[in-house]
Structures are given as structure tokens and as C-alpha cells.
Symmetry: C2
Subunit: 429 residues, 2 copies
């Protein structure tokens, strides 16, 4: 029931059934309040208009960028990150245009750790700069070719310049999980000392695992006093889990993009992260973000980059709240908390109990008969369930087919006994 | 380079560049050999034909089931799990048919913890039974209504019966992460004592987080001596990460389905799990599984259940190996390890460096010019790169457009200086 106090309340908070909560809280495997954890007070840096623009299919014209920025702002994200104005002339102009919208969200742009880029960015009117440089041996050797001393010196120069202009500044390494730990920590300590607002950890290649993330963020938490931002690619499918573990270890900000779009197969998706967080911190998430807008925003971005929402997307995938197997359906009909950790109503969506398959059970069919306004005894329901299963064994059946079987069976019950063996299959419309 | 020794070698093993490996191994944040971990010796229980059949769109006829079973067997999965023969008459017949194929993989079927279901299953010729019962207060109250004493007594009866028939048996709780820990452990200890082959932990509702999974499996590892199987739903996007943490904590078997299909938005996907595991245990994964078959198997199942492979699917999503931003492209062209933790060639796929966008850089364009057989100086390449970015600022451009700009620019270099200002945009085909 709580959910405002650290990570307490998980499933219970999400479903909110007091009588079950009492028992549920007795499990020693629920997280307890943890002073390190920011699970119930994280901030979102929404990067659809930066990382998302690096998605293979992305081309956002000015109008689309403004539409997406306004929607994300209304949804409640804390920051909106834009492509560097150094990328192209139009990128610079779009950055200026979005800064002039007067959004509640702070506007950031993402630039290389380079004084020329920083100067160009400061001119656009953004609230802050996200500065980045590669620190792994891979990137130092094959990308920019600079050593750590040079990186530190440049970083401090750029940070001090941005601060002198009164703007917020984040300094991030790139490919942090393949960077030397000691180099990384001493770099972060140095930029923390000159007053950077956030340091960033980025799993640029998507190699990090959840417990590695926890360990690195936990260590960094002990080294710097500023905020900690994290950025996770999804190459090995761990971007949501890694973001969650980062928050548990003391990270304060998570980078997301709508549907996770970005380089390669992308980063932590906004919707997927919120699926995770609404389970862990329901009150914080529900009070801060307009969850009902999620589907509309995903549809907007999907259309702009010409992709379909994945069939298995958390929350908005077409079957995220569909229950099929008989034992699942039975329990869901008794109490949705049995097989649902997320409440579809929180997102303006509805659940669906699939009863037209060979895996169906009589409880689901009984509910359907009720919806159709047909009164039958349990034995009669079991009989018609057997008929539905028999047809579904032969071919895929639609709701209409199953409904026809139920209606036809119900009709035979009203008629003389002699006709009650007529095959419902044949009368299906 | 290693990868056979616990979880060592991660990124290095995946990319195999010795000179970088030396530096890379110096990071204290690489996992070290861990006697608990089964990251380099896990087994896959492939459940497309059981959990996958619970996916909203799934209807597998006998022929399709056999095709999928044969493909999974050839791919190298250890077990193939089938829908309970108690579900329907055709389910029973299909179970018998698949048992008769003589596959290398062991055939399992998934049944309720009930003697009637167990007897029916034993008759089909399967190698083992995966027995399941709900243990959370939610399910005990709203699904089967049994108490823990009854569950334990029935479990032991069913297990002893299956063992008496010479078959393998797993006993799993359902909704394990919302079950009382002490109840759960004492139940597992009891079934372990009567010689169950595996106990199973199931996150039936998809609520578990990675560190909860690690803790629960780690605790269970100290309580039972049998194998530990795990099953993770993906409602909050953590199913791959949770499977990985389970293996780190000592789990031995992971349930998967192709594309993750299952109840609601499904479970740990086969391909996504292998993306994670090939990074962590490259030699084990590459020697055991025919990774080149992954895309073909995913396509087969996607067609059978009428879905598209998600655009952002690990490995096989259309852009999983596409690099777009200028700094990414530059580094990738120098050395793919810079921004790739997975090697597309391991899966019979290829990488693609996107150069037709406003985020492109001159290194990518230089490579493209080389592919087109056009010799230019670096200054000339930078000039034509500016032209590509300028057009891409105005509208989305295709490879053909960018190629036309490059060719046209190259042509002007061969002609009298007076014509060198002709706008390449206008001559684009």
C-alpha cells in the first residue's frame, strides 16, 4: 500500500488489495527501505530526440520534433535531450526552436567534450549540456585517440565554461563498462570537484549485466557527491533491468527513448522502464507521469520512424493483458492480482481473457456466457467448454466462433431434448 | 579469449582481439570465476510448444509443432517442453507424435500437480514431466484453494509416481516471488529429499527484479541438492536479465520460447537469452548452439503465430547491427569491437554502417566512396559529406540519394573547374 517509502509495496502497491498485502509483506524477499536507493525518486532524461534520432529509420523534421517534445513534456519527463547543434545546421535551428517552446521539462543537448561544440550549444538557449567522451581503451585507440590526462584537462575546461554561462552540465564517459575502473573513478572525482551537476555512466555497447551495474554505480556513489545519470543500450536485452539496478545502487537519472529507439536495437524504453517502476514505486510513478498518454506517445513515434510497436512490448503490446490458459483465466476472473502485476486501467487499457482456444477452461467460458447474457448451470458450461475445445483442436477459432458455439448450445437447451445433439460447429456463423 | 572459465572474458571473448583483451581484463568490474555460477554451463528448456502455445495468437497444428520441434532440436536446445496432454485430445496426440520423432533433445510435458494429469502424461512416451502448482497466497486463495500441507503431500505422491515410471521430474511452484519464503523452502526441501530431478522457480507474473532473483536462487541453492530451473515472464522487461542473474546464483536450467511468446507479453526469449550468454560465455554458447539457425527459427515461429519480429529484437531486429551517428561509424570502421559486443557473423548476419543521414561523418562517407570505387582526397570527402548532410537536413534520404551525391561530386572533380559548383542535389537520380 505504501510505495512512497523506498521500494516497499511492490506488487501490493500495484494492485492495492489490503487483505492480501498483509500476507504478502511477510515475505523476506521484498525489498526493504534502502537509503541508497532512488527507485522511488528517479528522474527521466528522455532522449528520443537525440539517441532516438540515431535509430536507423529516424528522420524527424522540425514539426515532428516539436510534437514529440510537447507530448513528452505533457507526459511529465524531467528532461528532454536533443541532438547536438554541431551535427547539422537544421539540428542547431531545431534546438533553438524547442528551447523557445517554454516547456516545463528542462532542455538538454548532447555534445562531444569539445569547446567548439560546447560554445555552439550554449548559444541555442538550452538549460544544460550533456557532455560525453569515450574512455574505454577501445574508443581511446580507435575513435578519438586521446589519453586520460588530456580527457581530464579538456573535461574540466568544458565544464567550467558551461558553468560560467549559468547552465547545467553533465559529464559522461562512453563505454564505461569497458573502461579502466581506476581511470574512470579518478576522472569522475576530478569533475565532481569542479562542480559538475551529474556524472554519467553509459553502457554504450550493451554489454553490462545487472549486478555489474549495481557494483559500479554503488562504487561511484561513494566517490562523487553529484547526481549520477545512467544510459543503457539493449543489445543483450538488459537495458530495463540495468536501469533498475542502477537506481537501487544510487543512480538518480535514467536515459530513455520512446520504444527504446536508438543506435542498433536501442536503449532503455520509456514504457518498459515505467512498467518496471510502477510495480516498484506505484505512488511516485502514478502521481508524476501521465501514464494514460503512453500509448499515444508510442504510436506517434512509431509512426514517425515507420515501425510497428513490438507485439511483445511491455504494457502496450497487443497481448500484454491477454490471458489464455484455463488456469490463468480462472484465477484472473476471481482476482486480477493473481496473474497481473500491472493494472491495465493505470494506462487507460483493458484486460482480455481469451476463451476461444483449446487451452481454455470452463471458468472463462462461464464468464463469457455471462457477458452474452446466457444463463447456464456449471455442468452445462462444462459441456459447452468441451465443444469449444474440440473445435479449437481442429482449427484456430475466433471469438465469434466460440460465441456461436455458446449461443447455439444455449439455444438447444431451450428446445426439445431430441435436438440437443445438433453439432454447434455446423451452426457457427 | 577464455570464456570457458566461469564468466570470464565477456566482451573480449565475444570479439577476440588479443591486444585489447590484455587491457580489458585489468578492469576490476569483470566477473571473476565463481563456483556458484552456471553462466558457462546452463541448459535450455525450450517452451515454445507449451508456454508459447499460451500466446494469444498461437494455434499450432501437428505439422507446425513437429517442424518447430525438429528445428529446435537441430539448433541444440537441451529440452523441448510440450502442452499438457490433459489440455485437449489433440494435445495428447501431438505429444505422442513428437515423442516418436527420436529427437536428441529430451521431451517434457508440463502438467498440474495432480495424479490424473501425471498418469495421462506418463502414457505419452515423454522423457520427463514438469509438474507445477501455485504456492502464492494469491493463487492458493483464488485458484486451487489448497493449503501448503496438502500441496506437499500431493507433490510427493506425484513425484514418487513419476520416478517409479523411470521418468525425469521437475517440481515447480508458480508465482514463486509472491510466495512465502519459508513455505517455499520447506516445500522444495521436502521434494528434494524424495529425489526430484529439478525444482523450479517461476516468476509467473513478471514482477521479479534481478537482485531479488539472485537472492532467492542463491538461498535455494543452499537448501536443495537437485538442479534448479527458472522461468521468467517479461511484464516489466526483465526476463533476460533475471535469467542471467539466476544462472549467476546457481540455477542450472532456463526456460525460453522463440521470440519470447507466451501468456501476456511472454517470457525470456531464446534469441535474447543467447545474445546475453554469447557475450558472457562465448565458447560454450558457440560450440553448443547452431546460432546461424536463430533467424530461420524465429521467422518460422513468427509466421506460425502471425507476428512480425520486433524491430528492436536482440540480434535479429532489422537494425541490431546498424550504426548511424558519425562518431560510432568512424570507430566501427576502424574496429567493430568499439561499438559491437556481438559479432553479427556468429549469427550469419552482417553489419551495416548507415551513412545517408545528417548524423553521418566523413569517415563513413569515405568508406562508402571506397565501396563505389571512387578515389578522393580527405578534403574532397569532407566537402561531399557536407553536401550529404545538407540534403539530409531537408528530407529523409536513401542510400541511392547519398550515392548519387557522391558520384556526382566525384564527376565534377574530373571536369573543368567552372562546373564544379553544380548542385549535386539537382543531379541526384
Amino acid at each position: 500500500m505504501s510505495g512512497t517509502n523506498g521500494t516497499n509495496g511492490a506488487a501490493n502497491g500495484a494492485n492495492g488489495t489490503a487483505s492480501q498485502g498483509a500476507h504478502f509483506r511477510s515475505s523476506p524477499y521484498q525489498p526493504i527501505g534502502d537509503f541508497l536507493s532512488n527507485v522511488d525518486k528517479f528522474k527521466i532524461i528522455e532522449s528520443t530526440l537525440r539517441e532516438g534520432e540515431q535509430f536507423a529509420n529516424a528522420y524527424f523534421d522540425t514539426e515532428t520534433k516539436i510534437k514529440i517534445a510537447k507530448a513528452l513534456d505533457e507526459f511529465g519527463v524531467d528532461y528532454i535531450e536533443l541532438t547536438s547543434p554541431a551535427a547539422s545546421e537544421q539540428s542547431r535551428k531545431d534546438c533553438e526552436a524547442i528551447c523557445k517552446l517554454g516547456l516545463r521539462a528542462k532542455i538538454l543537448t548532447h555534445v562531444r567534450c569539445d569547446m567548439r561544440d560546447a560554445k555552439l550549444a550554449v548559444e541555442t538557449g538550452v538549460d544544460g549540456l550533456d557532455v560525453v567522451i569515450g574512455t574505454s581503451s577501445f574508443l581511446r585507440e580507435h575513435s578519438h585517440g586521446k589519453d586520460m590526462a588530456y580527457i581530464e584537462k579538456t573535461a574540466i575546461e568544458v565544464i567550467e565554461y558551461i558553468k560560467s554561462k549559468g547552465l547545467e552540465v553533465r559529464f559522461s564517459s562512453e563505454d564505461s563498462f569497458r573502461s579502466d575502473l581506476v581511470d574512470l573513478l579518478s576522472l569522475y572525482r576530478a569533475v565532481d570537484k569542479v562542480g559538475v551537476n551529474r556524472v554519467g555512466i553509459a553502457d554504450t555497447v550493451g554489454c553490462a549485466s545487472p549486478r555489474q551495474v549495481y557494483d559500479l554505480v554503488r562504487t561511484l556513489r561513494g566517490v562523487v557527491s553529484c547526481d549520477i545519470e545512467t544510459h543503457f543500450h539493449n543489445d543483450t536485452g538488459c537495458s530495463i533491468a540495468n536501469a533498475y539496478c542502477a537506481l537501487e545502487a544510487g543512480a538518480t537519472h535514467i536515459d530513455t527513448s520512446v520504444l527504446g529507439i536508438g543506435e542498433r536495437n536501442g536503449i532503455t524504453p520509456l514504457g518498459g522502464l515505467l512498467a518496471r517502476m510502477v510495480v516498484s514505486a506505484p505512488e511516485y510513478v502514478k502521481s508524476k507521469y501521465k501514464l494514460h498518454m503512453l500509448k499515444e506517445i508510442e504510436d506517434m513515434v512509431a509512426e514517425a520512424v515507420e515501425v510497428n510497436t513490438p507485439f511483445n512490448n511491455p504494457i502496450t503490446g497487443f497481448c500484454a493483458f491477454t490471458h489464455k490458459a484455463g488456469i490463468h483465466a480462472k484465477a484472473i476472473l476471481n482476482n486480477p492480482s493473481t496473474y497481473e502485476i500491472l493494472n491495465p486501467a493505470d494506462f487507460g487499457l483493458t484486460r482480455y481473457v481469451h476463451f476461444a482456444s483449446r487451452l481454455t477452461g470452463w471458468n472463462a467460458v462461464k464468464t463469457r456466457a455471462g457477458q452474452l447474457g446466457l444463463a447456464m448451470t456449471d455442468d452445462q458450461i462444462k459441456e459447452v467448454t468441451a465443444k469449444i475445445k474440440a473445435l479449437a483442436d481442429v482449427r484456430p477459432i475466433a471469438i465469434d466462433d466460440a460465441d456461436s458455439i455458446i449461443r447455439s448450445f444455449h439455444l438447444t437447451l431451450q428446445q426439445p431434448a431430441a435436438q440437443s445433439n445438433s453439432a454447434p460447429v455446423e451452426v457457427a456463423q
